[in-house]
Symmetry: C2
Subunit: 374 residues, 2 copies
Amino acid sequence: MELCAGREALAEREQKRDTVARTTDRAQRGGHAGVSIEDVAAAAGVSTATVSRAVRGLPRVSPATREKILGIAEDLGYVASSSASGLATGRTRTIGVLAPYVSRWFFSKAIEGADRELHARQYNLSLFNLGGHGSNRERFFSKTMVYKQIDALLVLCMALTHEEIEHLQKIDIPLVVVGGHVEECPYIGIDDYAAAATAVRHLISLGHKDIALLHGDDETDLNFDVPRVRIRAFQETMADARLAVRPEWDELGDFTLRSGQDAFSRLWDRPGPKPTAIFCASDEMAMGVIFEANRVGVRVPEELSVIGIDDHDFSDAMGLTTVGQRPDEQAELGTKMLLDELDGAAGAVRSTVAPHRLIVRRTTAPPRPGIKLA
Amino acid sequence: MELCAGREALAEREQKRDTVARTTDRAQRGGHAGVSIEDVAAAAGVSTATVSRAVRGLPRVSPATREKILGIAEDLGYVASSSASGLATGRTRTIGVLAPYVSRWFFSKAIEGADRELHARQYNLSLFNLGGHGSNRERFFSKTMVYKQIDALLVLCMALTHEEIEHLQKIDIPLVVVGGHVEECPYIGIDDYAAAATAVRHLISLGHKDIALLHGDDETDLNFDVPRVRIRAFQETMADARLAVRPEWDELGDFTLRSGQDAFSRLWDRPGPKPTAIFCASDEMAMGVIFEANRVGVRVPEELSVIGIDDHDFSDAMGLTTVGQRPDEQAELGTKMLLDELDGAAGAVRSTVAPHRLIVRRTTAPPRPGIKLA
DNA sequence: TTGTAAGCGTTATCAT
DNA sequence: ATGATAACGCTTACAA
């Protein structure tokens, strides 16, 4: 079969031919591929202007002609060329989604949310995975750059350099960032300080005094001050409760499962007293801690309470206590604002704090009195 | 700041103005937004044709002029309008990725893989999440359809109706499906039969005779015959070993964690003998089984061996024995073929079977002799 | 209500 | 090595 044949070579096409001839030619090729507005107009015996109005549902077309045109368009399999209408209108009906990762929980959920809103409103989603600092990144922010290809931009929890921000501003398209702050940009996300403090207070209210911290790396792409804010929330909440923060219980991860496992290992291999609870800056890291604890026989929550942030898809099944957030809803809202703005609602894009909530499950419990492993 | 202001209204632009005036006008607005090839040409004192050649790195431009043009283009922040060049060339440099889900492991990994290849070759990725059967689906396959907006299509493990397949064929763009068969379409994926058989044989070789099956649902989007093939592989492999297959140990899931948990519950709540091992058609379901087993105190692998298929990101941490596959590499390969085809390499797209491998970890072990729970 | 025609910003052909 | 110029397919005043 012919599914994979290259497109008909442009060069091959003769340059001057009347519409009828061209239409026939295409029909013979047996594909809808090249049906243009002109073909439809010719077949319907009307002008292209009328076809344009008709297919877009614009007024000023008599019901009769409209119906006729729609029928013919359907038969011919006509669909407008996005390039052509993009050129004519200056709009692509595509919004860009910029992300540092695509397969991690927060991002894939956010993409899903953005997609919902986008497709509901007949927009397309162009995905840019900037993974890491390198090449893709440059590509996005320079030469071949993507603007003029998108009507608006949704940035997912990315750390942007000053230059990059400037670049974006120049482009002057609606922009919103989800899941983290970027200076001077409208953003949507949870109150990270409050969420972290909530988690820590939950531990404290259970009676824990020896609480470890597993925070996120500050040097990866997905960080702005999110990690910093969560750290500060931890420290201040502990201080408020007059609890000591032990530097040796301060572990650094990178939001991955693996880093959670490693952090637990380091914590438990180190001589000295062990914490009775650990606050992890993400569920994925928390799960890593739990898996590793399980593996070496440390019982959760009896010997170690674990709390995370996110409410990852797996958290419920694992019984992980956490502070939940909904990246999909955040992205959906951000997208909605972007689209409203494009629809003329000036000021539709505005920073918004998204809700979070404590979800108590089975990985947190009061500390065991007395007995403590060496 | 002005980040979110709407684009300058087209209507607002006066229609006849000489290039110089327009350029100045734009400069005053302080953005790069409207710099066209004509602006660059004017500033460089050459024709647009030359600018076009220069910026695209085509031959037939003297080194001197090229350098000059590039410099000016840089200064002005010129970047070609994709709509315009799309119109002129008939190519969008965008490929579509069609998926039934975006946040599930297989899909997010595949998207990541496709993205790698795409961005490396200066293409853009347009994501279409068809989640469920409904609306998006229609949108994709009809009116507003996306073709003429993409140069090729990568289909991720989707079940397509006859009509839909026909539709795709008519469009006549390079197409490849990853992770499952679609009739008459070139496809890339593992040998599902072999992978499943490998898993079952592993269990058998460990000495298991009472093996349960947790297979995937046949009615969701992500199914072709993948589930069926895996079921058949299970049955035939059991038969080859002269082992009985008990219908009451045949559980149906939908590839989610939750369905794995439920399946375990049903299996264990039912009176009668229990299996000593279970073969799950996906790691995610296998994890569900394990979580639930853990929760009710059934020990893995002592009382129940569990094996899955996929090698999900979490499998290593959980010690899950599985038959691994790499959706990212499959999608990357598929994308490469698509792009090669577009680059003129006719026949670059061809069905390919991707590798799988048994990864033995800690959730499988020989069955406990004797003792069996009621 | 419908048609005419001037763009939109590139690319590509054909001269020069 | 460059420059005119005709497409590309659609939208949108403006006319009719």
